[in-house]
Symmetry: C2
Subunit: 331 residues, 2 copies
């Protein structure tokens, strides 16, 4: 038996065997109870969920498994929370190769270990051949928010400084290149990584971090436009300060994409008090996932609710959210 | 526009509109942040996840939406936790009718209200036409475990009394009948309902509740066999005391199914100290979802790790876990 059968989702013996042979050892889950019981260090809890439907399942620099761990860890981290526990829900298609399942589970386990979080509960469903696209994964996560941290678009104020934690456009470009059988030189790989450690060093540098959000689907521009709409302020970005790798620029140009709308899975936008922006940037650059962090703009009062991209020659371009679908099933 | 488009999963404007018009109002979710921030009354947290892939999406007595809420609420409740917060992750197929989405969301909202829990965060992904089967839903939930409660198969001891909270076999039989276009008289409907209120009245009656688990996939027999394996003891059940509705018996007989392996979504098995079993049963019977609760057997030392079904004529049948797949995609 080397593929998933419908019976693996039945709740009976096949499912028990799958749990005991695959999920249990990889994730260190022992109990067979309905819920995981955990102790949180605080009662201020962040709770999030994401389903992953990326295609292809394996892509340069990652696969759906580590992506699913990083994505949910990062959603917690940019909320100011310390991610602690994750659940993993699998929807598998009948006929899915067990060898691929094993690889994906191993990636999840490694990603969880690297992020310092624990996968504590799971669920497996199997649907008939042709009724899913290989596999989908849901991860949900909880973390706690240490006292004194408040990350919210309502805290953004005029004069605040806008930072990006790393290079823009890698994940979406890597996926679309893989999907189309294109290779670029240098090779573009996903930026998918856990960002909770980077967030911690920022809070060590200063508590005056007002807002963070990771520009996944919708990309950089959509996320900053959200910040503009939610805060009622203007996000003013200097185009020449945006760290976009030349290979990403080249690939996007060839594919007719705008890197500012491409999905990212290993960076976030941070908006911080001007007085601490240099210290925060310096701290970020010392961290493995913040080496390319940069100050890219500032918040102004007007024009309100706008995202403005200022070009090197003195012009400016107003940017909206992503319209329609640039790159389906990117995560 | 009356169906789901790929763009609804893009993270851009279409997705924002979907959230603001559909999910936001139904669930009362306001923020657009990456995580929900909640305050828990205790740091003893239960955390669980389940994906729902039931087919058909609508069935007698419910749909995938309320099923997804009840299922996760019940997983928390039978762990002894008070369910408080839920996340909802949707995987939608391109072309899915928005009218059905609206109905399903309304059912989730009503189910959450009835269970006294709050849906605090969500996620929507869209996959291409033919790459999913209408919709899949993941719900993850957190609750807190009040002091003094410990539900675990390790607490089961010889002499304990085994109870069932309601009638057996309704959900699985209702789904399979619907799938095959069969109707029975009286009509069989799912038992899907929130069980957290019933669990609370049991703990009010006694803290000597050692074990609870809901026999969903795999059914009654698989769940009790798990309890036998985990505790190392024998679960001895009196067949004539099992509350199986005549319509379920008839349908199962016609369909070649065993009701003891059919999925349930609104009952649980409880194992309690003998000294308090009558008080617990009396309390259960006063509750709307415990009216048909019954004492069905007891725990003995030998034969160890066995589930024994004692027949009225003095025989006994050893039951194993569900083998293979009796009813695929039942939840």
């Amino acid at each position: 038996m080397d593929t998933i059968l419908l019976g693996h989702g039945s709740g009976g013996k096949l499912m028990h065997d799958l749990i005991h042979e695959y999920f249990g050892p990889a994730f260190g889950i022992k109990g067979a109870g309905d819920s995981a019981l955990v102790t949180m260090p605080s009662n201020r809890i962040a709770f999030t969920t994401d389903s992953y439907v990326v295609t292809p399942l394996f892509f340069p620099g990652g696969n759906i498994g580590d992506l699913a761990v990083h994505g949910t860890v990062n959603d917690l981290a940019v909320s100011g929370a310390r991610p602690l526990f994750l659940t993993a829900g699998f929807i598998l298609e009948e006929g899915f190769p067990l060898v691929d399942l094993k690889t994906i589970i191993a990636s999840m386990s490694a990603a969880a270990k690297k992020a310092g979080i624990q996968i504590v509960a799971g669920d497996t469903k199997v649907v008939n051949k042709g009724k899913a696209d290989g596999m989908f994964i849901n991860t949900s996560g909880i973390g706690y928010v240490p006292d004194g941290r408040e990350i919210s678009s309502s805290r953004i104020k005029s004069g605040d400084i806008i930072l990006i934690s790393g290079e823009i456009g890698c994940h979406g470009t890597a996926i679309i290149a893989e999907r189309n059988g294109l290779t670029f030189e240098p090779k573009i790989t996903t930026d998918s990584c856990p960002l909770n450690g980077l967030v911690e060093v920022m809070f060590e540098a200063s508590s005056e971090i007002h807002f963070m959000r990771d520009p996944t689907r919708g990309g950089f521009a959509t996320t900053l436009k959200e910040a503009a709409l939610e805060s009622g302020l203007c996000m003013r970005i200097r185009e020449q300060d945006l760290p976009i790798p030349p290979a990403v620029k080249g690939a996007c140009s060839l594919l007719g994409l705008d890197p500012l709308y491409a999905a990212n899975e290993g960076i976030f936008i941070a908006i911080v008090d001007k007085a601490v922006s240099k210290e925060v940037l310096a701290a970020m650059r010392m961290h493995e996932y913040g080496r390319n962090a940069a100050i890219i703009g500032e918040v102004t009062t007007t024009p309100s609710r706008m995202l403005l991209l200022e070009t090197p020659i003195g012009g400016s371009r107003m940017m909206d959210m992503l319209q329609g679908e640039q790159l389906p099933r990117i995560c």
